[in-house]
Amino acid sequence: MRSSKVTHAIGMFALSLLLLVFLSPFLITILNTFKSTQEFVENPFSLPTQFNFDNYFKAIDEMSFATGFVNSLIITLVGVVIVVIFSAMTAYLFARFTWKINKVLFFVMTASMAIPFQVVMIPLVTIYGTVGFIDSRESLLFMYFGFGCSLAVFTFHGFIKGIPFALEEAASIDGSGRVRTFFQIILPLLKPVVSTITVLDVLWMWNDYLLPSLILQSPELRTLPLSTYNFFSSYSVDFTPLMAGLILTMLPVLVLYLFLQKYIIKGLAAGAVK
């Protein structure tokens, strides 16, 4: 009995050590954001002589953090709302009205999920660059909508099919139209799927670099990953402010994770299995 307790303790210790090493890239970076580049280069493991936030202020300033943050926030919030609402509506259409055209369209949408972004990005830029529908929030949002809707429609569809018809029938007897029935009866039932899609799409839109880098050019429209890229390519000798910039960029998501870890892990795992 005693020896098993000892093995258990050793196991726990080993596991904790493993996690510590696993997360050390984050920990070492945080530690060094409080030091000068000189101190960091001399010894990345030394403790900061004093806790000053100079690097953070420098980063906020140099990478126009506030602009990037607000832009990312707008794109992510609006993008997710658009994808969730319209995809849920389309999924409802496909699940409840089994017209031939709906079946074909649903099949096309589902099949398109296999296509990687890399296969459409060049024609996308060619087409929308030619017609001039780039370098605006609207165009980026429209593209997130187009790319995000197939997975969302597919996920909502699977869920709506399991909802009994009786609820809608009762509503329609009471004289509720199709749109009202959807918003009052169906949409509230979709909460679990909404949370899955929200988690997947928030992380996608917040972290995405490639699409915005191709679509947005004006500095005032840059999302956080673009500001980070720009910061790193224009400011490469002074390391510790750059590290502070990285921490700042990660912070919003990590704070969310602290509170919503259960939903986030569940949402991402559900997205994987689909």
Partner: protein, 292 residues
């Protein structure tokens, strides 16, 4: 009758209109136009676009540097897939035994998945160029004495390690979901028959986890083949263009050299390679599946 039809058209447009419009405009039309692009010598800089048939595919498939690069990507993907899956499977096993604080550990190992490849790439850049060389010099570890990112082979391994490091926590969650559904009576029966811990893993858990393995292989194959952000931030294709993965190369070809037709043809070939590998894998693995 007519009125009903009209009502249905209205329903279709209201419920399906917006998403179908965006989907068509952003996915379907570019996809079709993209296929056409591969048959042209479309160049954004010179403005030329003539139809050249299979010319792009021919020159790509006979281009030795391209084929080497594709092979480089395949090697990278294979190693990433193996390392991340072995790691995730083992972590998942350990963290589904009901240890104290196991949720905490799962949460911790999952963390890198919340952050984009670009940020992670920059984060690790400091590790490879500053922190590890510091340790190498201090403790005399030859392997870390110089920056990994300035050596062709080591820069390749740096990419593999960082991508596998990130993927591991994600795949771990998928494996755990599978382990939880392994019936405990089978495990008990195996224990009564004298199976040790290792035997149980090999003969019971592994065969019953085939469906999670299929999902994880699929995920890790597509993720690693399509790596872009990490490549850009960590090595930027260097040293001397030795670590350009397929996606990176496509972006360079199209948006730096302006060879849109050529870049698109490379993208189509990459897609075919990924699809063939992913589907073969899943067809092969599905045959190993057993019922509990």
């Amino acid at each position: 009758m007519r009125q009903k039809k009209l009502k249905n058209v209205g329903t279709f447009l209201i419920f399906g209109g917006p998403s179908l419009f965006a989907f068509t405009a952003v996915v379907l039309i570019p996809l079709a136009f993209g296929l056409y692009l591969t048959f042209t010598n479309w160049n954004m800089a010179t403005g030329t676009h003539a139809f050249i048939g299979l010319g792009n595919y021919k020159s790509i498939l006979t281009d030795k540097t391209y084929l080497e690069q594709l092979w480089f990507t395949i090697k990278y993907a294979l190693l990433t897939v193996v390392i991340s899956n072995v790691g995730a499977f083992s972590l998942g096993l350990i963290l589904s035994k009901g240890l104290k604080g196991q949720t905490f550990f799962r949460t911790g190992f999952f963390t890198p998945n919340l952050i984009g490849g670009l940020i992670l790439g920059y984060l690790w850049q400091f590790l490879f160029t500053q922190v590890l060389p510091f340790m190498g010099q201090k403790y005399g570890w030859a392997i870390f004495q110089t920056s990994w990112l300035s050596d062709t082979t080591k820069a390749f391994w740096a990419l593999v390690i960082v991508n596998a490091w990130q993927l591991m926590g994600y795949l771990m969650i998928v494996y755990i979901a599978g382990f939880v559904s392994v019936p405990s009576d089978i495990l008990e029966a195996a224990a009564i028959d004298g199976a040790g811990r290792f035997r149980k893993i090999i003969s019971v858990i592994l065969p019953l986890s085939v469906s999670s393995i299929v999902v994880c292989l699929f995920l890790s194959i597509s993720r690693s083949f399509l790596t872009y952000d990490l490549n850009l931030a960590l090595t930027n294709g260097g040293p001397y263009g030795s670590t350009e993965l397929a996606s990176f190369h496509i972006v360079q070809k199209a948006f730096l050299s302006n060879e849109y037709g050529m870049g698109q043809a490379e993208a189509v070939i990459l897609f075919i390679v990924v699809a063939v590998i992913a589907l073969t894998q899943s067809a092969f693995m599905k045959r190993l599946e057993v019922e509990a």
